[in-house]
Amino acid sequence: MRLILELALTHIAGRGRQTVVAILGVALGVGFSIAMAALMQGTEKDFIAQLVDTMPHVQITDERRTARRQPAEDLFAAAQFEGLRPKEDRRGILNPAAAFASLRSWVPGRMAQSLRTQGVVRYAGRDLGVSIVGIEPEIEAQVSSVAADFVQGSFDALRAGGNNIIVGDGLARRLGATVGTTIQVVAPTGQSRSFRIVGLFHTGNTARDEGETYVLLKSAQILSERPNAINDIRLRLDDPNAALRVARQAEAELGYKAVPWQEANESLLEALVVRNVVMYTVVGAILLVAGFGIFNIISTITHEKARDIAILKSLGFTQGNMRRLFLVEGLALGLAGSLVGWLVGFLLCFALSQVEFRLSGAGVGRELTRLPLFWSPWHYAIASAFALISSGVAGYLPARQAARLNPVDIIRGAT
């Protein structure tokens, strides 16, 4: 009703400074919420993008999700095994060439196969445990993020000789080695060979920089005495979001465990959810406080305008009209605060997007950084919705009180 709106605006206009404070309270709440949401979602997207960038989207290893059944288990209702040992170590993906070829026929993206084993590198009297990854340099370069993290050399350098090795810069530092140094690699089989360092990489991940080495696939197979063996297939998909589907299909097809990046980082992704919950709690708290400002002003108005309420009621206005009047006042403040808040939020986001800072010790090529901000109309809508709900409640409580007021009490009090 227009009349109610007009009365409401008159009341609000009558309390200039308090109104400004209440509106600013909501505006700051809404503005900070918007900026915070933009920053939170921006960093989240940035984080996931980096995650997706550095990890294989799907990793297929020679493990199985459930233990393989022994023939005896199928034959007898109950079976107990003691001291059973395979006649021959057949670990690794069976028939890797066929598996690789069949995947290649349908997987939307690129893929690389490798043999991953543990070993010890030895140089100048120092022994360090490492993982040794046997790769095919030309396809590895298309799949692995390490290709972009080389400080010296590249995957291609491996091809120059059978005894070449690439190590992380951390490992080189700990060994006291550098490019050109020849180091000794000992495999669990007891095999030992000399390798010459032809490349150094720095991923920023200490565990990898200090513990990962790359050699040719052939060399790894010789070291572990498993010719033609593969125990790791990594997929880099055109669309990282397809990882779950592709992993499920690959697992069904090959029978080996295929882990999509979402599963590999489950705990990290859960942490992001927690972070969002924290954010919305803080936003809710801010707007709740803003709601108190509104509650305060509406309560003041209802007390101050008790006479008006009485007279309006005596003229024939209903309780419902009075409730609506003060509810509208609360909502009007919330709405005004929201609109100003949008501007505050927009300006805050703009200011934040202008901030540049240096990340000390960051990787090659990404030293100068800006805050990742993600712009979405949803942030504005959600912040406003929170603000309107909170101001609606803040208006409704005193409104209900005021509507119940008995006009006779006030009129009698005035005479």
């Binding site: 009349l3 309006l312 009621k313 003229l315 024939g316 209903t318 309780q319 009209n321 005035a414 005479t415």
Partner: protein
């Protein structure tokens, strides 16, 4: 003469540890075109009775019919509707909304009723205010007027929706004698010229003497209810 207001054994007791009886067993019938003065000592329940008759308060006993409708079964919204359409109030203090102009104040009840267009409401308010001698004050704020002028604005507001009954609680109580006389004349003209019924609580014996009917209250009860010949003045 059809009855506008019929009260039977109307009683209002304030519930408390020691209950206070505001109005005690009042029965009366009010018809059209009556000019009634309610008199009585201070604290005798005059205002309380007026609030009951004006549907601002509910009785704790007895029945009250307005234009034949029993009000005891009505909910608050129905009572508000009846107030809006049938009744107009004038209090000792004008109770105008200070933020609105004189004309806007008079239009408030019309807007609430929502039957007229914006223009019709403006014209009706102007007409009422003119008749009450306030032609030049339409766009002034209440605080720019004298007490007598404000009380006349309150009368205009009470007449906004063309009610059957105007209830006035000491309408001249805070006015000087000249303004009092003016307001009295206006109230009397409402009866004589417009055919309204006016019920006015008053301390002013001069005014009471010139009313058509005088109801005297003591301790919340009616002790006398007498009619005078209309030719008295």
């Amino acid at each position: 003469m059809s009855a506008l207001i019929e009260a039977e054994h109307l009683t209002r007791i304030l519930p408390a540890t020691v209950p206070v009886t505001l109005v005690r067993d009042v029965s009366l019938t009010v018809g059209e075109r009556e000019f009634i003065a309610i008199t009585g000592p201070s604290g005798s329940g005059k205002s309380s009775l007026l609030y009951l008759l004006g549907l601002l308060d509910r009785p704790t006993g007895g029945t009250l019919r307005i234009a034949g409708q029993d009000t005891s079964a009505m909910d608050d919204d129905a009572l508000a509707r009846l107030r809006l359409e049938m009744l107009g109030f004038v209090f000792q203090f004008h109770f105008l909304l200070p933020e609105f102009t004189v004309s806007e104040n008079v239009q408030l009840p019309m807007r609430k009723a929502g039957r007229l267009s914006a223009r019709e409401m403006r014209e009706r308010a102007a007409g009422l205010l003119e008749e009450l001698g306030l032609a030049g004050h339409l766009d002034k704020r209440p605080d720019q007027l004298s007490g007598g002028q404000r009380q006349r604005v309150a009368v205009a507001r009470a007449l906004a929706n063309d009610p059957h009954v105007v209830l006035a609680d000491e309408p001249t109580g805070s006015l000087d004698s000249k303004s009092s006389e003016q307001v009295f004349q206006i109230l009397r003209d409402l009866v004589r010229k417009r055919g309204k019924t006016v019920i006015a609580v008053t301390h002013d014996m001069d005014i009471a003497a010139r009313a058509d009917r005088r109801i005297h209250l003591v301790d919340g009860g009616v002790v006398s209810d007498e009619r005078a010949a209309p030719a008295a003045v």
